[in-house]
Amino acid sequence: MEMINAHIHTFNIKNTPERFLQYGMPSFIPRFLHPTFKKIIQQKSIARVAAKLIKNPFLSKHLAFILIGLLETQDLIFEKVKKAYPEGSKFVVLPLNFKFIGLGKLQNTYTQQLDEMIEVKRKYPNTFLPFVHIDPRADKPSKNKEFVEKYIRKGFNGIKLYPPLGYYPFDPRLEKVYEFAEQNNLPILTHFGQGGIYYAGKNMPPEFQNPPSFIKEYDHKIIPNKKNILFCDNFIHPDHFEAVLKRFPKLKICFAHFGWDFYKGKGKALFKRKELFDKIKIMLMDPAYPNLYTDVSYSLADKGFNKMLLKEIEENTDLADKILFGTGFYMTTQEKQSESEFYLNFRGEMGEAIFQKMAVENPRKFLSTEFFKL
């Protein structure tokens, strides 16, 4: 079985901004001590012990970055994940442009991150399937489309969106990108879960509250919140995506994580735990969105999620045709299970027939484009 893991990351610590640790830093550490603390925690031996002891979700994420992300190149990270799967398995590799996260300068630019991915793809042309992340704030609408097109024509397999970094799916600077994606049957994979990485700048720009939109008929509602992590859930509101899909009905899009909730902090989250999951489930079954998919990346670390998912599939077998297998490596390294355990346990829990759909048939449909067939 030539399986596909539709959601992994290989970017390393050089692709993150200089103050990336800061948004996971416990509040009792004074700001002036952050660089010292960062230096200490970036020692691998210390990070290894800290990863076992620290339970802060953001700090754990940073520690995962340290333990895997300190590997010098994306190549080394990819080799690490490859080992956990049968020979010939394919991987959708998702970069992130951290430039606008509000935590300072990047050590390596975003294009350097993408160019390095081309290097890895030259080594593994059939198994390394890179996507290109587009942040609409990077450039003008036409330039954003040109940027995406350049990398797609180079051999990238799809487009990645990560709205909680600070942009809405209906951003006018994305319109031409959607047009290009729809014309060429390109897959778009967007982050879709509460928690995770989010815009962490000190002040939230006013356009977060009053954003421009290319869908004039859509009346977007934005719920104010002073906490960045809670406000940033506004960016992934399912209604925003529904409006985009109404405008581009053939758009092939995957809502990552099946909307599962990773938020572990204080304060009231925008959505209740199962709310996004249920909403996605309804949208997946809606014949108006034939090209809509979801994936189980990271969510599969939660045994409760897997149980619930299996129950839902047993009740509605068509749902299995809309789900992609993915793990979210290497964010998953903060969990107790290893990558191969994630994959094997999930495969065991779902059973062969369902897993075959999720890891082979569905990703093939999702990833086939005008440029590449799978």
């Binding site: 691998k44 010098e72 050590q107 390596n108 630019t109």
Partner: protein, 307 residues
Amino acid sequence: MLLSPILDTGISFIFFYFTLSTLASTLNEWWLQYRQSRGKLLKWSLEELMNDPLNKNFSDLLYNHPFIDLLKKKQTSYPPFIPNDIFTKVLIDLIADEYEKESGKFEQQENGEVVYENSKEIKEKIDRYKAGLDTLHYSDFKKWLETFSKDAKSEDELEKNISTWFNHYMDQVKGWFKIKVQKWLFIWGLVISIVLNINAIKIANSFWQNHQLRSEVTMLTEQWYEKNKSEVNQSEDIQSVFQDLKQLIDLPLGWSFESIQSSGVYDFIIAIIGWMMSALFISFGAPLWFEILGKIMSVKSSAQKDK
């Protein structure tokens, strides 16, 4: 008459800090190896030069090149040294590859296999290098690379230009490493001075005032110097000499409960100054102390001859 005590005090003092410097150097060497300091500094120095934000991080590409990859002890470590010819070949290869990357793309064949195809091939390496340079955005790094190829008419000339530059740059990196070593020697010197309570002021005072101690140390030094003046037998021999020194009861080394109890603030301040001086003397390094020892020994022997 006064010359002999002055010389003997000097010899004892110099020899004492020579042994300590050697001990600190051994610890330092082990520590720098453990921390991969040489490799990290080399990586940093190349990163400063080759991480071009307007183009790419060429230092990452360099370290990921199979030629350099093979120099690594393990995948997560950095080689402490990159041979000149390897750096030259890899740099040319990386820049030439930029041209191939620009013109190449992934294509799917009829059997579904994805292959990387490059339509335009250039035979001569120097031309590929120049074509690779043309694909880069204008930057300091590009300008730097252009200086190598500007007046080079052949591949050999290009290699020679890069190689000469790399030699000079590595000399500079060696200089930076020396400064780093000295900094760590001072830290080790301070640790040794505090742990063994080596107060330079007290040591000098003891050598000057205690005739017997001075004679014993001078004798030990003369015996050792006679045996080692042509070539210093590093660490093991020095460590045994240091053990001999420590056994001299009158040498003011170590801690005692009584001395801590009886000392006041003034003693403590003097102790801190003494430790700092010791650390500074240790950081001078064993080669310098050995050289001074050689000079003072020859002064002593000529003084004895005159007598």
